[in-house]
Amino acid sequence: MKTSVFLGTLSVAALAAGFASSATLDDVKARGELNCGVNTGLAGFAAPDANGNWQGFDVAICKAVAAAVLGDSSKVKYVPTTSETRFTALASGEIDVLSRNTTWTFSRDADLKFTFVGVNYYDGQGFMVRKDLGVTSAKELDGATVCIQTGTTTELNLADFFKVNNMSYQPVAIQTNAEGEQQFLAGACDAYTTDASGLASTRAIFPNPDDYIILPEIISKEPLGPLVRQGDDQWADIIRWTYNALVAAEEYGVTSANVEELSKGTDNPEINRMLGGEGDLGAMLGLDKEWAKRAIAASGNYGEIFAATLGEGTPIGLARGLNALWTQGGLQYSPPFR
């Protein structure tokens, strides 16, 4: 955009007209860039590599949305958010979508006025401790010092867990995963608690991961997913169906490798509808016909993304578990494209 942001402010002019709540899509198109809120650095989910390019599971959602809406998966501005700043960043319109392992809860949905568009990772809160501490169960953590990220559901879960089990603990509040990691490694806390996937990802980049264990207890349900501001249903639909397209693509065997070929037409009408060969689902979202095709081409279908960022082939080494497709005993399930 040629519009100098500075000029706009100097003249106290509103840059883009229109209400933030009703036309996020127009804003994004006008801007030519998707502002996507991500984690400040959680290997596997969202972290910049050595060249400053963002990589990870949550980042892939941003890319898919950018590809669907703008036609270019690189047109994303990644806004690193801490657990403390993420909601205000979204509410204030600084970001268009928050894709930062955020737990879907009732109050966030209803009271904080956000719309969760789906669950891209089913998770639960766990504990990580040093192996030589000799602890094998979270129930043995009475009196422990626990590092915890502030502003998260884990904070509340932790309080509840210790209360229910009649144990005491000493919380050490931290702002980012990096800080928690550093405090935990320095021994400033006995246990580090966050989503189990986050623990695995954190442990993976420790100098000697085998010295640490993740305790078996999962003390909460943590359905993580992308979210948008409430009130802009069209925009929420776009994110929701972009995500569903990735899941459906895995189900129907559409991959980044064959999406080009399959988009020319297949004998499965569902795939044809999704990829724009039949009907015009894109127009219903305010997009063009090939939106889903581009989204899938950006970094592959759900399974590909998982395998490339979190899966067993990566240092993080997470199994699909609950996040397998429904056809394979998991919970990932896309409503039909019809």
Binding site: K2, T3, S4, V5, F6, L7, G8, T9, L10, S11, V12, A13, A14, L15, A16, A17, G18, F19, A20, S21, D27, G41, A50, G52, K77, V79, P80, T81, T82, T85, T88, S92, G93, E94, T176, A178, E179, Q182, L185, I205, P207
Partner: protein
Amino acid sequence: MADKTTSAPFVRKEMLAPEGPPATQIGAVKWLRENLFSGPLNTLLTLAGLTTIAYLLNLALPWFLHSVWNAKTFSECREIVANTWGPDAHGACWAMIRERWNQFLFGFYPNDLYWRPVLTFLLLFVAIVPVLFREWTPRLMVAGGVVGALILWLSVAYGDAIPAGILVVILVVAGLLGRSGRKYPATLSWFTLIFPVLALWLLWGGSIWMSVAILLGFVLGGLAFRLVSPAGGLVFGATAAVLVPILWWYYGSEPFALALDRITGHGKPFWLREVRSDDFGGFVLAFVIGVSGIAASLPLGIILALGRKSDMLLVKWICVGFIEFIRGVPLITLLFTASLLLNYFLPPGTNFNIILRVIIMVTFFSAAYIAEVIRGGLAALPRGQYEAADALGLDYWKAQRLIIMPQALKISIPGIVSSFIGLFKDTTLVVFVALLDPLKGITDAVRASLDWKGIYWEPYIFVGCIFFVICFSMSRYSMHLERLLKREHR
């Protein structure tokens, strides 16, 4: 009696050569006795001081002596120290600075565009010359030569990075500076005036016409004042001077810039690659915020101080309220307000640059302090000065400009400069609104990489030293200025 004296055989007849003072009264010994061991308390203090120094040296010296300058990772550093100095030795790992200095200085500003902040920084020196110096002294000439040489070196070093057009512009500017600035640095003021928009363009890039359009707003404001005030008086003149630029910026500037941009295209001299605000970081960010905050907070502070001293009650209350509010809350809460709440108070859909928001808040914060300092200066002026100005028939603004302010500002120099120093130090707080300040933002980013995990002291020392050099020289300069301007007899 006299007879007796002269005849006494034991009285020496010839004078002895004068002896030197006793060993305890001269040289190093005397100095030591007087300055270090003049009494039991002083001796004790000296010993305590020596112990402290010895303790600190014992802690830090081996660490410094075992410095490693060449390594790729922190663990490699440790290995080198262990291999060279034994397994228990500690050593500084300055290799980190070697590897990452550019991030500390430039943040994530694109590598091939480093010349732009550097050039801006050099031009800053040109721009502040008319403000700080009244005459060309030989020393100033030498400094000017050095800056010129550096600019030239920059053009050579980034020969292909600098579009030929900019080079020409620089040369022309340099030539103009040389011509107009020959007699008094004050003749360079025009450069000081265009510097902000020039810096804006150089740092953020984009079309030069945007900067020109912004500048034109000020020019139009000045013109409006010139045209209206003779006919309509000061009040209408001032109103026009405010309204015209706002109207221009609001309605005229964008079409103007776009039109010119379409004509010139993205050709080299008119267009620089855009750099996004989130790429700013490190000392570039600290300087952008610090320098613009300093430049903007002084005039605002003066206005607030005058408002607070004003006879107009309502104006006074507004100024007092503003000053007390800003001084009463921590800067962090103001920064949070800028980053979290500002969107609530602006029309829906407005979204403006976070760096600018931070600059505004930092400026407010500093201006409130400066206003208090200047108020002290105004209060310290003898009443006679005000009365003399009235007796001369000067109006309010003339009296302020010619009589009151020069004296009040002179008295307030130390306070103002320490506010500036405070502002510059406070630029580190922007890390809490997710900007990459050199102290915590960049340090955390460096430490987050696997290579430099666990490195603590080196980045803090490096950043601390740079801050120290800048702030210390600012405070020394203010002391120099104070001496220079001292007029009273002692």
